[in-house]
């Protein structure tokens, strides 16, 4: 994986000092909270209901064992022993003291990590495919391109006060595992008929209160112009994105209001101009970065069979492991969704256990997934049982990947100052209600947000739950049929909302109806798409 050179390290170290200085000026009263806010936000520091929350960047979700271990240590040293992995492949700590924030950043800097641009109206952490480098269907490893974007977007002088936050994702296979088209810019690395590598640009996707699926504005930008094209797309947005209303400030609104064609025309004009400015890093830089993402030293001739004699293990293999491009290897997802647990939470100890397992069994590397789980991407099949036993002993072997218990949930009213309703307890109740029935129900992606900001991706859930405020009481809206990935679609609301118990019952009625009506090997989503909303609605509301 990528390693800093002295330049990258200097940037991060300087940032720690800058942040220390900003905190000092705030504590000494040189700047007001209003003026401090955008500064601390650009360092990932939010003021939440009970304490400060710190969001640490995990570029394209990839971590070394040492970095992961540090995340576990920070959970114990500065938080209450937990870290929370997020849908943007980052980690958040919910109980941070302002006075200690700079020390945390300094600790992070010792393992080449930071919290730069993890919030604020700037270009955020770029996300990617959690199986990058392992997936059989990828054209290339997308992460070098994401790293190129990371460097370009870090402290970008022109784009640090955008109309709104800006999120990018990069993938390199037709199967989209990163919800690429729900980002401000989604890039798919593609290969032309002539074998040339290029970038397809999808611009103007997003969730929030107006969910939109990004249209493709350019199917093939030559790879040695990708940064220039990004700069053009951002400049048009920075100049013309709406600033009068923060709910209309995302680039999706600009693309929608101008129309895709007009936006594209403006980007192409800006692009033609920027090509004259020589702002693109040379291909040699991409090659340098690619060197860090070369395949690890896979062993050849290792057994390609897994001994399935332990039924619990076999179940876990079937649910949580996916094929690897290299014979004898497999990619493993560690579910952070135990029955009744808080989705995405891990203790400091669990984080260190995962770090050790990565060192022992997966070339010292881990991934955070946008579904709030952890991936060990390159595990030898021969090691799989030993790995599983350690996971099992540490409460990390829940076999429920992409099933109803593998819920995405935002922090909701338990932590978040913007929330209408709690998300975590709903996730816990649903995962308890369906415990033991997950295999029968099969693939079912359930996603919960505590308010319309949609941090929990509810629009993209096969079943989505949205917390709303109804006359001062928490109320939950149900939607069906959302999906991310190649066949991205947005969920439709079923009808009137439910209270806390009612929403769990409603989910059960929907899944019961599915089980009673599914044909062959249909997933919940397939049955919904075949039958449409009406019969589900009938089943849910009776």
């Amino acid at each position: 994986m990528y390693q800093y050179d002295t330049y990258d390290q200097a940037m991060v170290d300087t940032r720690v000092e800058e942040f220390r200085d900003q905190v000092r000026r705030r504590l000494e009263g040189h700047i007001t909270e209003d003026q401090f806010k955008p500064l601390r936000l650009m360092n990932g520091l939010y003021l939440q209901l009970h304490a400060y929350m710190l969001r640490v960047a995990v570029p394209y979700g990839t971590l070394s064992g040492a970095q992961m271990r540090m995340l576990g240590d920070i959970a114990d040293k500065y938080d209450r022993g937990y870290g929370h992995f997020t849908t943007r492949q980052n980690i958040q700590y919910n109980w941070i003291k302002l006075e200690e924030a700079a020390d945390i950043l300094a600790d992070l800097a010792t393992v080449e990590m930071h919290a730069i641009q993890t919030s604020g109206n700037c270009i955020r952490n770029t996300t990617s495919d959690q199986y990058a480098g392992a997936a059989a269907d990828e054209i290339v490893d997308p992460r070098p391109y994401a790293e190129l974007i990371r460097q370009w977007s870090t402290f970008h002088p022109e784009f640090s006060f955008l109309p709104r936050k800006f999120k990018m994702a990069v993938i390199a296979s037709d199967t989209d595992r990163a919800a690429m088209r729900l980002h401000d810019i989604g890039i798919q690395i593609v290969k032309s008929a002539a074998g040339e590598i290029g970038a397809a640009f999808y611009v103007g996707g997003g969730m929030g209160r107006t969910p939109m699926i990004a249209p493709c504005i350019n199917e093939f930008v030559p790879i040695d112009q990708m940064i220039t094209y990004s700069e053009a797309a951002l400049r048009v947005y920075n100049r013309h994105g709406r600033r009068d209303n923060k709910y209309k400030a995302r680039i999706k609104i600009l693309v929608h209001e101008l129309g895709k064609d007009e936006y594209t025309r403006q980007v192409e004009a800006e692009f033609a101009h920027l090509l004259t400015q020589n702002i693109e890093p040379p291909l040699a830089e991409l090659e340098r970065i690619k060197g860090f993402f070369a395949d690890p030293a896979f062993e050849v001739g290792v057994p390609d069979e897994v001994d399935r004699s332990d039924p619990d293990f076999a179940l876990w293999v079937d649910n949580n492991c996916v094929p690897h491009k290299q014979p004898g290897y497999i990619a493993v997802t560690i579910s952070l969704k135990p029955v009744g647990g808080i989705p995405g939470d891990a203790t400091g100890e669990q984080i260190r256990v995962m770090a050790d397992l990565a060192a022992r069994y997966s070339f010292d590397e881990l991934r955070v997934t946008h579904t709030q789980n952890i991936v060990l991407a390159h595990v030898k099949k021969a090691d799989l049982y030993a790995l599983w036993q350690v996971l099992d002993a540490n409460g990390l072997s829940t076999p429920n990947l992409d099933q109803i218990g593998d819920i995405i949930a935002c922090p909701g009213l338990d932590y978040c100052s913007l929330a209408n309703a709690r998300s975590i307890p709903i996730a816990q109740k649903i995962s308890q209600r369906f415990a033991g029935r997950e295999q029968e129900i099969g693939e079912l992606k359930l996603k919960i947000s505590g308010c319309i900001n949609a941090c929990g991706h509810h629009h993209a859930g096969h079943i989505g739950i949205l917390g709303v405020d109804r006359k001062g009481t928490e109320n939950y809206q149900l939607s069906l049929g959302g999906c991310e990935g190649a066949d991205t679609s947005l969920g439709q609301i079923t009808g009137p909302g439910f209270d806390e118990e009612g929403i769990v019952d409603a989910v059960q009625r929907a899944t019961d109806f599915y089980l009673a009506n599914k044909q062959d090997s249909e997933r919940f989503l397939d049955t919904y798409r075949r039958l449409g909303m009406a019969p589900f609605k009938e089943a849910i509301y009776g």
Partner: protein
């Protein structure tokens, strides 16, 4: 008009306040113009030869359109004074400098020591702009084509 607190030029400052972009089109003798966030910096491009001062207003610090205006002018070859005015914060100075601003007139004066630290803090940059600083990638590949 707020005082210019920091200036990185040796020539005589222009004393006249900038006229609006609309007025500028008609007043063929005006040498100073003021850009509001919604103005299109490209409207000035035909007139760059006679402009000595462009004030770019930041009515609120969070409105970042002025950064693009500045770069557009510099990329088009403008060499006169580019002055940031309005609600300017210490932590924005370095970004503004990189976008081509060479004079700063904040509504409320900034602590000079904090400002100096901010201007000087980052010894390296990841992106090239018209300020001439070599980006990190150029240093990494000094000697190779395009690097």
């Amino acid at each position: 008009m707020a005082e210019v607190q920091f200036r990185f030029r040796d020539d005589e400052p222009v004393a006249d306040p900038g006229v609006t972009v609309d007025a500028f089109g008609d007043q063929t003798n005006a040498a100073a113009v003021r850009l509001e966030p919604g103005d299109d910096a490209r409207d000035l491009l035909p007139h760059l030869a006679r402009i000595k001062l462009v004030e770019v207003n930041f009515p609120v610090f969070g409105d970042g359109r002025g950064y693009s205006s500045a770069r557009i002018l510099r990329e088009a070859g403008y060499t006169g004074e580019l002055r940031a005015v309005g609600e300017l914060l210490v932590d924005q100075l370095a970004y503004m400098r990189r976008c081509g601003f060479d004079a700063f007139a904040p509504d409320s004066a900034l602590d000079p020591a904090d400002a100096k630290a901010a201007f000087d803090r980052y010894g390296e940059v990841y992106q090239p702009t018209t300020d001439g600083r070599a980006p990190i990638w150029a240093k990494r590949h000094a000697g190779t084509a395009n690097g």
